[in-house]
């Protein structure tokens, strides 16, 4: 690999300086090369050889628009799934905010999903998705709610995930990874018709009951419906009980001090 003859920090030739190659050597691709896997990609496999363009240039092999096809030269099946997913369709339509491969996996820092350094490691998935799905400025353009991330983190799955459980469901356990589709799509893993099968991956014997009720709920918000009203009822019941008990203590103390003063 001769790219690093020029593209390194401190080079004298005047070529763009970059540390990217160091990240590359640590990545799953760089490690595979080091282990002698001749199928693993080198710089030119992604960036091209004589046709190298900057990533910002739409015609570049690694541009947001083209990178999926570039990765797909090796990852064919994944590319096929991705192309028909909501993200793939959006990228094809030219939506700049939609993620292509590098949007989730990183560029030179791609690691296998089982590697804790990976952006798509089980406990990192929620944070990775929330970079866009938690952003009102991005999601409002497409009419998508941003509550999903917060409500997930409040759910039992989310809490267990935040405290390091790798077996509990994260975003992609239910929504899929490369094949993510909107819930209205009959092929979506979170379409109410498919929910029993999706939940059944972890909860054996899951049935259509799993799809009854909103999935992402925040008991503190009115959108949660009856859950919100029951939670509010209990909140005021607890406060009311507390006040009644304190009132009882004061009354009882008052009565007792009267008895004491009377010398009984």
């Amino acid at each position: 690999m001769t790219c690093t003859h020029c593209h390194y920090k401190g080079n004298a030739e005047g070529a763009p300086q970059s540390d990217s190659y160091l990240a590359y050597f640590d990545s799953v691709h760089g490690k595979a090369i080091a282990q002698g896997n001749v199928k693993a990609p080198l710089c030119q496999d992604c960036h091209g050889s004589h046709s190298i363009l900057k990533a910002k240039n739409e015609r570049a092999a690694v541009s947001q628009h083209n990178v999926a096809e570039t990765c797909g030269r090796c990852h064919i099946q994944i590319y096929a799934q991705y192309k028909t997913s909501i993200h793939g369709v959006a990228v094809a339509k030219g939506i700049k905010e939609a993620p292509s491969c590098t949007g989730c996996h990183g560029e030179h820092t791609i690691y296998g999903p089982k590697d804790p350094k990976s952006t798509v490691y089980a406990t990192h998935v929620a944070d990775q998705c929330s970079k866009c799905h938690g952003s009102i400025s991005i999601m409002s353009k497409f009419g998508i709610e941003t509550e999903q991330v917060a409500t997930y983190k409040e759910s039992f799955h989310g809490v267990a995930n935040q405290f390091g459980s790798r077996t509990v469901a994260n975003c992609s356990s239910c929504h899929g990874t490369h094949e993510i589709r909107p819930p209205q799509d009959p092929l979506s893993s979170v379409n109410p018709k498919n929910v029993p099968k999706t939940c059944g991956k972890c909860h054996p014997g899951a049935n259509p009951n799993f799809a009854v009720g909103k999935m992402h709920i925040d008991a503190k918000k009115k959108e949660a419906g009856i859950v919100y009203y029951v939670a509010s009822f209990f909140k005021y019941l607890t406060i009311g009980t507390m006040l009644a008990l304190i009132a009882h203590i004061f009354l009882d103390m008052y009565g007792r001090s009267k008895r004491l003063r009377a010398g009984k």
């Binding site: 409040e154 039992f156 809490v159 267990a160 935040q162 405290f163 390091g164 459980s165 909860h203 054996p204 014997g205 899951a206 049935n207 009951n209 799993f210 799809a211 009854v212 009720g213 909103k214 999935m215 709920i217 008991a219 949660a224 009856i226 859950v227 029951v230 939670a231 209990f234 909140k235 019941l237 607890t238 009980t241 507390m242 008990l245 304190i246 009882h248 203590i249 009354l251 009882d252 103390m253 008052y254 009565g255 007792r256 009267k258 008895r259 004491l260």
Partner: protein, 231 residues
């Protein structure tokens, strides 16, 4: 207040059997509260610290469920003891709710507000003790039901929609909070802060209370013990 005699007459109020049950219940409820509230309040530092102290979120769940099984076992044993043992049957008669308890409660309030002249006279257990006992019993029973639904979540959802479990999770947490609040403001006052027992009614350890305390706080019981010749 009577002058303290150097060697006050004491009588047994809590037998060894009940003291053991009380201590086990106390420890179990504390474990359940600490592991439960850690999850309920996971978003603040106290919850986070507790979860870490409890060996992570999964071990926390394990401890919570182990304590829950122990609590259920205690509940079954207690029901058996109260219904079938000689001592239990006697105590059950004493602690049984009567119309009189409600009247006593109203009279106590009226007395405290100054509209009647006499404070109610209690037997072995007054309305405060009975409310504590039946409140705890009923509370533990109800929170156990919601807890079992949540534990067996896949099984529950064979019959019940997800929405029901969402509600159960909310109800279970608030039931715990409510029980905690009642323990704090009722039990803490009656058994610790109340001037007649401050800083603590020691009968949960020694089993004994002074006869003079019985005479003042539970006069009907005092008279009964006199009649029976115990005092």
């Amino acid at each position: 207040m009577s002058a303290k005699s150097p060697d006050p007459v004491c009588i047994v109020r809590m037998s060894l059997m009940f003291r053991i049950q009380h201590i086990l219940l106390m420890v179990t409820l504390l474990v359940l509260a600490v592991t439960g509230f850690a999850l309920m309040y996971h978003e603040n530092w106290l919850g986070r610290t507790l979860i870490q102290l409890e060996g992570g979120v999964l071990f926390r769940g394990f401890v919570h469920r182990a304590a829950a099984i122990f609590l259920l076992a205690q509940m079954v044993f207690h029901a058996y003891y109260m219904l079938f043992s000689g001592e239990g049957k006697r105590e059950l008669r004493e602690v049984m709710l009567r119309r009189q308890d409600f009247d006593d409660f109203l009279q106590a309030i009226r007395y405290n507000l100054g509209t009647v002249t006499d404070y109610p006279r209690f037997g072995k257990y007054g309305y405060k003790e009975k409310f504590q006992y039946w409140g705890a019993t009923g509370g533990i029973f109800l929170i156990s039901i919601s807890g079992v639904f949540l534990w067996a979540e896949t099984f529950s959802m064979r019959f019940l929609p997800k929405l029901f479990l969402d509600l159960t999770l909310i109800v279970h947490g608030y039931q715990g909070l409510l029980a905690f609040v009642i323990l704090l403001f009722w039990h803490m006052y009656n058994e610790h802060l109340h001037p007649s027992v401050f800083p603590m009614n020691k009968s949960w350890l020694t089993g004994k209370v002074e006869a003079e305390w019985i005479r003042q706080e539970h006069p009907l019981e005092y008279e009964k013990l006199k009649q029976e010749g115990v005092l």
